[in-house]
């Protein structure tokens, strides 16, 4: 490769590298704004702004889902296995909503509970045929796998 070309190649790599560092620093500074949701631990630690629309993400804690039989009202705990946030919501839940499922809820904290205006289900990266799930459940491996996915 002749020296002139080599020089141009180094200039390009230098410029793209510098640009990468600049963008990287900006993203690092903005990282809290890029995160889609807060975790229950961040809420318990007071890191989330109060009385403002925020999102909380975590798992629906087992045995905490309460449905009002006369309305669409539902209450459940969102957990990251360290802290829980009590969520109340009135509306239609996504098909994937169930205990042990990852969810992202949008809303605001008021009087100690989180009043959600939107509930989204979060899907993990694992795909399985139903027969495999059944076999895993019987041998007690399913919960172990779910724990790993988080």
């Amino acid at each position: 490769m002749n020296p002139k070309r080599k020089q141009r190649l180094y200039v390009i790599f230098g410029l793209v590298g510098g640009l990468g560092v600049a963008v990287g620093l900006v993203m690092y500074a903005l990282s809290q704004n890029i995160n889609l949701f807060f975790t229950p631990t961040q809420i318990a630690g007071g890191q989330a702004p109060e009385a403002q629309m925020i999102r909380v993400g975590g798992m629906v804690a087992e045995g905490t889902v309460y449905r009002n039989p006369e309305s669409l009202e539902v209450a459940f705990d969102v957990t990251d296995f360290d802290h829980n946030v009590r969520v109340t919501y009135s509306g239609i839940l996504p098909d994937l909503f169930r205990e042990g499922q990852g969810v992202v809820v949008q809303g605001r904290v008021s009087q100690g509970t989180f009043q959600a205006t939107e509930v989204l289900a979060k899907h993990d990266e694992n795909y399985m045929p139903p027969e495999v799930t059944e076999a895993l459940r019987q041998s007690g491996q399913l919960d172990k796998m779910k724990g790993m996915g988080q």
Binding site: I12, L36, P94, L96, E125, Y127, P129, P130
Partner: protein
């Protein structure tokens, strides 16, 4: 080391004739693999325990999302070649790849939205993965628009190549967005370094489709590059010869 393999790309005629062969080979591979992979994935792969049949959009969404990024990476290689070696064919490459890349990006955004509604409960959410993919679509549109806006082809090519190189920063952001930040989009199920997060009965047809879509992309890019080469070299005698023959 001999640079002959590289320098022959500087000859438009050599490229036009070789790419004609590569185009048909990749076209046939694409047709066979996509028919096999799509029928297998949609008709014979098992359903998912949670999502039921709606997960089958993976057989379209994942390959086109891969290609949306691969086309951009290929454009970046072309931009470097254009600046360092001043090879005209690299500019043709950028022009062809931008259109094909935009098509794959739009397809991945739309297929993802269609999957998102039944699975997440929403078509769109401003999380890092979805937003960075949308920025990729805007980059492609910007590159196509910039070329159309500058009358002088050499100037247009250089301006586009600079924009391509600036946009490269977005590629690692797309890839690692699901690991660096909290997102609604799940992390990758297929990784080069790890076992896939699904059984073989699901990922084998997916792999067939990924290779198939890659072959289809080669077909589209070569077809489009050959047409562009003919148009740009229309005053050359070999073009008159080729067109006269046809």
């Amino acid at each position: 080391m001999s640079w002959r393999w590289f320098h022959q790309w500087g000859s438009p005629r050599w490229f036009y004739e070789r790419a004609g062969r590569w185009q048909w080979v990749s076209g046939w591979i694409a047709l066979i693999l996509l028919v096999v992979g799509t029928l297998w994935g949609l008709g014979f792969a098992p359903v998912d325990y949670q999502q039921g049949h709606s997960y089958r959009i993976i057989y379209l969404h994942v390959p086109v999302a891969f290609l949306a990024q691969a086309m951009y990476a290929a454009m970046a290689v072309c931009a470097v070649v254009l600046f360092v070696w001043k090879m005209k064919l690299a500019d043709v490459g950028i022009q062809a790849l931008a259109v094909v890349g935009l098509a794959f990006t739009v397809l991945s955004l739309v297929s993802g939205a269609i999957w998102g509604k039944p699975t997440w409960g929403t078509y769109w959410v401003w999380d890092a993965r979805l937003t960075s993919m949308l920025i990729l679509a805007f980059l492609y549109m910007g590159i196509i628009g910039l070329r159309a806006a500058i009358a002088d082809p050499d100037q247009a090519g250089k301006a586009c190549a600079i924009l391509v190189l600036v946009g490269v920063v977005n590629l690692p952001i797309i890839k690692y967005s699901v690991e660096w930040w909290n997102t609604l989009h799940q992390p990758a199920s297929l990784k080069l370094t790890e076992k896939p997060a699904m059984p073989a009965s699901m990922w084998v047809p997916l792999l067939v489709n990924i290779v198939g879509y890659y072959a289809a992309a080669f077909y589209l890019v070569f077809a489009s590059m050959r047409a562009l080469v003919l148009e740009r070299e229309r005053r050359a005698s070999w073009v008159k010869e080729v067109v006269g023959r046809a």
